[in-house]
């Protein structure tokens, strides 16, 4: 099974610990991936809005002192379930790719056959 909707998965992944606003989500993805993943920041908001519409995340405006209120997103129950799906899909996908790249026995046998 191919790993699709990677941005959605990453958003859900960083939101599993705590509620975050858009900029923080982008930042966490960058930092958590040791700067190997850098999403186009503009892509983030359409994805967030879509996930919110699908009911996987929910948002609320949090007032800040001396600053305008910020929209903070948090994971819903559906979102957690979807994240579990994404995680499983990724594990299968990465295990498959890992096996091919490492030249495992199964792959060798398949090659001989």
């Amino acid at each position: 099974m191919a790993f699709k909707s990677d941005l959605d998965a990453m958003i859900l992944g960083v939101l599993q610990g705590e509620a975050l606003h858009g900029y923080e989500i982008a930042k966490r993805i960058r930092l958590a991936s040791a700067k190997t993943l850098k999403i186009g920041e503009g892509q983030l908001y359409p994805a967030l809005h879509k996930l919110e519409e699908e009911g996987r995340i929910q948002s609320e405006w949090v007032p800040q002192e001396g600053k305008p209120a910020r929209k903070v997103y948090k994971l819903t129950k559906q979102g957690r379930a979807k994240l579990a799906e994404h995680r499983q899909a990724w594990e299968e996908f990465s295990a498959g790719v890992g096996a091919v790249l490492s030249g495992s026995q199964t792959a060798k046998e398949a090659g001989r056959g």
Binding site: G22, E41, Y45, P46, H49, K71
Partner: protein
């Protein structure tokens, strides 16, 4: 808020206008404004000397038009709901159409040439530069003044929808020739003013031609557009003492043969409707052009940081 963030939000607001509700739009813009400000603050700490952190933050965020399309797409807003003025092909198309309409109805050569020059200029500009703003604000101001002035000039020159033309017919040997000449003005149009020697003019067929001297000395009835028979016109001149009457009579006596110098015709009912429709269409398209140019000017101002996007209260 700095000028780059301000520009970004103005562009994004324009691109999303009409594609989402006002409250949602305000929320989205506030969210993105906060993001860009945070990003600017973080970049300021790591920027090299001479780099503008706000500019970098906006660059990293990507094109406002692409973002607007993506947001609209995610929300299921049909592509067709993109504002017309954002389509690159629209402006050349509009210019061509405005030019065609204008040329088809403008009869005065100066107006026609001005319309043609303006239309060609607009078309070339639109083709070469897309719908980006001109770097010369002064040229934009002149262009806006021109698009405002040309239709007004066209309306005043044509007497509010009428059609005027010069017919020089100094070689006409007889009244019949004058009649024939008048008949060629335009089929179905009523001729209401012409210049001819008074003696000869009196014998012109009633209802087909109404005679006055040249436009400068037209009787009041003719000036307001009402047809005036020659006999009536003569009476008005005599009672009101038109200043050029004597000289005209003297000139008329010297005319060797019937001579039509000026014909002003008026269209029939349906021609009038068609004419007014053309005028309204021209006005609409030229003013549309003005709006496009003004919008371009506004965008330029926004880029210069003079147009402020204000955070909306949620």
């Amino acid at each position: 808020m700095g000028k780059h963030i301000n520009w970004y939000l103005v562009e994004l607001e324009r691109a999303l206008d009409g594609r989402m509700g006002g409250q949602e739009l305000a929320e989205t813009l506030n969210e993105i404004e906060a993001h860009l400000q945070d990003s600017t603050a973080d970049l300021a700490a790591i920027c090299r000397h001479g780099q503008d952190p706000e500019r970098l933050a906006v660059q990293q965020f990507g094109s406002p038009l692409k973002l607007a399309d993506r947001i609209a797409c995610e929300r299921g807003t049909p592509i067709g709901k993109t504002p017309l003025s954002r389509e690159p092909i629209t402006e050349p198309m509009i210019w061509c159409f405005a030019l065609a309409v204008f040329l088809s109805i403008a009869s005065h050569p100066v107006v026609c040439l001005a319309g043609a020059a303006f239309g060609v200029w607009g078309f070339c500009r639109a083709c070469l530069r897309g719908y980006r703003t001109s770097p010369m604000a002064f040229a934009q101001a002149v262009a806006v003044a021109a698009v405002l002035a040309i239709p007004i000039l066209a309306l005043t020159r044509t007497g509010g929808g009428g059609d005027m033309r010069m017919v020089v017919n100094g070689d006409a040997p007889s009244i019949d020739d004058i009649e024939r000449q008048l008949a060629t003005v335009r089929k179905g149009l009523q001729v209401f003013a012409a210049e001819a020697p008074p003696k000869e003019a009196a014998s012109l067929k009633s209802g087909s031609a109404y005679l006055t001297p040249m436009q400068a000395t037209m009787p009041p009835g003719a000036q307001t557009g009402e047809p005036l028979p020659w006999s009536e016109a003569k009476k008005v001149w005599q009672t009101d003492g038109w200043p050029l009457l004597d000289s005209l009579q003297a000139r008329a006596a010297e005319w060797p043969r019937p001579h039509v110098t000026y014909v002003s015709d008026r269209r029939g009912f349906f021609d009038g409707i068609q004419n007014w429709f053309g005028m309204v269409a021209t006005l609409a398209f030229f003013y549309w052009g003005a709006i496009v140019l003004l919008q371009a000017g506004c965008r330029k101002m926004a880029q210069g940081g003079r147009l402020q996007w204000h955070s909306k209260a949620i």
